[in-house]
Amino acid sequence: MSATKKRSPISTGSEWTFDLIEEYDREIGRVAKNFGLDTYPNQIEVITSEQMMDAYASIGMPLNYSHWSFGKQFVETEQNYKRGRMGLAYEIVINSNPCIAYLMEENTITMQALVIAHACYGHNSFFKGNYLFQTWTDASAIIDYLLFAKNYISQCEERYGVDEVESLLDSCHALMNYGVNRYKRPRPLTASEERERQMAREEYIQRHLNDLWNTIPRKEISPEEKVIHYPKEPEENLLYFIEKNAPLLEPWQREIIRIVRKIAQYFYPQKQTQVMNEGWATFWHYTLLHQLYDEGLVTDGFMMEFLHSHSSVIYQPPFDSPYFSGINPYTLGFHMMSDIRRICEKPTAEDREWFPDIAGSNWIETLDTAMRNYKDESFIMQYLSPRLMRELRLFAILDDAERPTLRVDAIHDEMGYRALREQLSAQYNLGNREPNIQVYNVNVRGDRSLTLRHYMHNHQPLGESTEEVLKHVHRLWGFDVLLESVTPDNKVSQAYHCPPKEISIELA
């Protein structure tokens, strides 16, 4: 860091002012542009800690519909914050166009600059560039859509009662993770269009009988082909299926299901890119602020404070520490991004062997490609280097319920690299993390019961709140609901029934 300092620092104290924020933003923006970061315009909002807690409570969005669970979230955050158990995040950033970022007024100017670099240029460019966000979300429409949703739901509350709407939302929230299309790309939503279509849908549904319950007799069916499957292919989006097919729902109820589904879909990319997104933003705040330091725009004191927060953000407690709670996405992401840069700039023989394509290439371009075209799962699979595995001292533990002991399956050595990388990548595969449950069949000609199937992964059974969720499914569907856990060889290992017919029988 012995660059000649041509310019005087932007600030020397720790107090922030709007002028200073503006100047930092200008300088950071300039540097970011030189590094080729492409962003949405920024909307930087200064808020109080109380407002930050409000934002926390409504899943980080500036507005949302009312529901008790957000109240619970708020109460919990407030409690923890007041007791000093947790600090609030320094920032919240919203994937919208313009990209909204919140700065807390309690922060020092150093922290504000850090947040600007992290959120307004790091996350922002990720939102704009990553393929998942581009395909699945429409940044320019989300705020409008939330406004539409909030108003629609409060109208429903007025018309049909708070309790009625609340219990419906409870049921939808229970299935929120199953309200996304994993593979089909949905249409991006815009609010005005949404409103028109909602009216049209409502009318259509009222005018037409549901195809599913069409009772006009068709040709007589020979008894052999009696077993009709509806839907023909299993459906992974439970909320979608219920919205379209549940026999007893009113149009407004279908609309609310749709709202929850759309919001779930909006957040789906964030769940799949946590490591990359945080890693990218952390890598850039680190790089951008160092650049400012090299240019002499920030002081040594500024850097000390910045590095202190930076290193606490990327601290990874070891597995046996009381603070350990899984792998810190900031740590993994930041180190992987930095590692890619290192491989590009100073490749070792090992790197040349493992990453022949990128070793020695232009790091800015390589990182940009990585940011645009991967999600956590594939990013780790592609870029996790042996050297980083050694640095983080990763190891894999196999926990097999059929064996009395745990076993160390692989460690950071020549034999283990590939297995480790594969396992870590699989750990970020949402399909493995959440049970794979799909709509299997509706008994169209009989009691209208709905059968869901859980396709078991690694023999993992469902957790203890399954029965509770089924009650919610039952509330939405209106008729009996059956859930079967199926092993890969198509045997039903466990069945749940709601309303409970008999105590679920262990067949396995």
Partner: protein, 428 residues
């Protein structure tokens, strides 16, 4: 290009609605927590907000997730000594796998419960929910002595400064239209005739006729103009009426036996009871005065500190306190101005010959003036003569006089609730 916006002055409390919804949903839990808090808490901070703890499982939102079991590989950081192939026992309760979370919950209570604070107001709301002051309505109307003037429409009489000009002129206008109607109709008729004549070619006869018509019109016009522009009859005044305002002042008498048999524990229970009553009254009245009367063989009016903490010994004559209470009411708290509440706490001891005097005093001098007289007997032993005497009073004055028995501190709140339960058929 970036926009920087200062949002600090924007609406805060965005989450209030959500918070209220949350409280509403978990009302039962909160109520239970409040009741427990009342039992356990020391007296001085009963009024503070409260901490409410709800078991996690009652509050969780269910989702589909993997349970324990199956084959699971996890990656951990920070390897120190492991090499591939090492095997070891599952750690108890830890990790994400292994033998479950049930054990963890027994050890670390804090982690498994959802704890939050409710404000003082919310606390008291829950505490006094479904309680009401007995017969408040009836008493208020009967005894109202202060008045307030309120506007009540318009009247045709009043003092000049209350004149309502717009209303008056409107009335005048209406009157003029009503009274002048006939004439004006006639004038219009005559004018029409006149115009018809004027339109015709001039002739002698028509000229005379026209002249006659003109005179008639002039005469009618004069008559119409004689109608006064404004008349006494038109005047309207703002009408103000006097409305009786229910008395919102209350006085609470705390009457306690401090004789030798009253231990500090019993006094403590009594104090809690008094505080509950005070808090409850405070929510219903703007202004409350407290009068502390303590007695052994003599009664004495004292301040709070002395009331609860000074030590006395001696015999017990309850009537002395009732006598003093009645005297104070007569001297300082006219029932017309004050809502009077009396709470008496005792261990039930009384000098044998005195109980009859007590009931006599109550029936003749006190119960007719007070809103409510609550007697709590704090004892673990059998009832003594005072209780039986009071039972008769209760039969004579079932509305004003209430009595309950408390054996230990845990019963204070239930007994309090019993005393002030909402009565469905109301105050007749």
């Amino acid at each position: 290009m970036s926009y920087i916006i200062d949002r600090r002055l924007n609406a805060k409390k965005k989450s209030t609605v959500n918070r209220q919804r949350f409280l509403r949903r978990y009302k039962q839990h909160i109520k239970r927590a409040v009741e427990e808090a009342i039992h356990d808490r020391s007296i001085s901070d009963i009024e503070r907000g409260g901490e409410v703890t709800i078991p996690r499982r009652d509050i969780s939102e269910p989702t589909f997730h993997h349970g324990k079991g199956g084959r699971n590989t996890r990656i951990y950081p920070g390897n120190k000594e492991f090499v591939t192939g090492d095997e070891f026992q599952r750690p108890e309760g830890g990790g994400g796998s292994g033998s479950g979370q049930g054990k963890a919950s027994n050890q670390g209570e804090g982690e498994d419960n959802f704890t939050f604070t409710i404000s003082q107001d919310e606390f008291l709301d829950f505490m006094f929910e479904d309680l009401e002051l007995p017969y408040l309505v009836r008493k208020q109307l009967k005894d109202a002595t202060s008045f307030e003037t309120r506007r009540a429409g318009f009247s045709t009489s009043g003092s000049p400064e209350k004149l309502h000009i717009v209303r008056s002129l409107r009335a005048a206008h209406a009157r003029r239209i009503a009274l002048g109607g006939e004439e004006r109709k006639e004038i219009r008729e005559l004018r029409k005739q006149l115009w018809a004549l004027e339109a015709l070619p001039a002739a002698e006869t028509s000229k005379e006729e026209m002249q006659a018509l003109r005179e008639k019109i002039a005469e009618l016009d004069k008559k119409a103009r004689r109608l006064p522009f404004i008349d006494d009859f038109d005047l309207r005044y703002n009408n103000l009426i006097r409305v009786p305002v229910p008395s919102s002042k209350a006085v609470m008498f705390c009457v306690m036996d401090v004789s030798g048999s009253m231990t500090q524990t019993i006094k403590d229970i009594a104090k809690r009871f008094f505080i509950l009553l005070y808090l409850f009254l405070e929510r219903n009245y703007k202004q409350i005065e407290l009068v502390f009367v303590r007695h052994h063989t003599h009664a004495k009016e004292v301040d709070e500190q002395e009331f609860f903490y000074s030590r006395e010994t001696g015999g017990t004559i309850v009537s002395s306190a009732l006598q003093l209470t009645a005297d104070i009411i007569d001297a300082r708290y006219s029932p017309a101005d004050w809502n009077i509440y009396v709470a008496q706490a005792s261990d039930g001891d009384n000098w044998d010959g005195d109980s009859a005097t007590c009931s006599d005093l109550l029936m003749k001098r006190i119960l007719k003036k007070v809103q409510y007289f609550a007697y709590v007997e704090i004892t673990t032993g059998p009832h003594q003569n005072l209780w039986y005497e009071y039972e008769q009073v209760h039969q004579a004055f079932p509305d004003e006089f209430a009595m309950q028995h408390i054996a230990d501190a845990g019963e204070i709140y239930p007994v309090f609730r019993k005393l002030f339960e909402k009565r469905t058929e109301g105050a007749a």
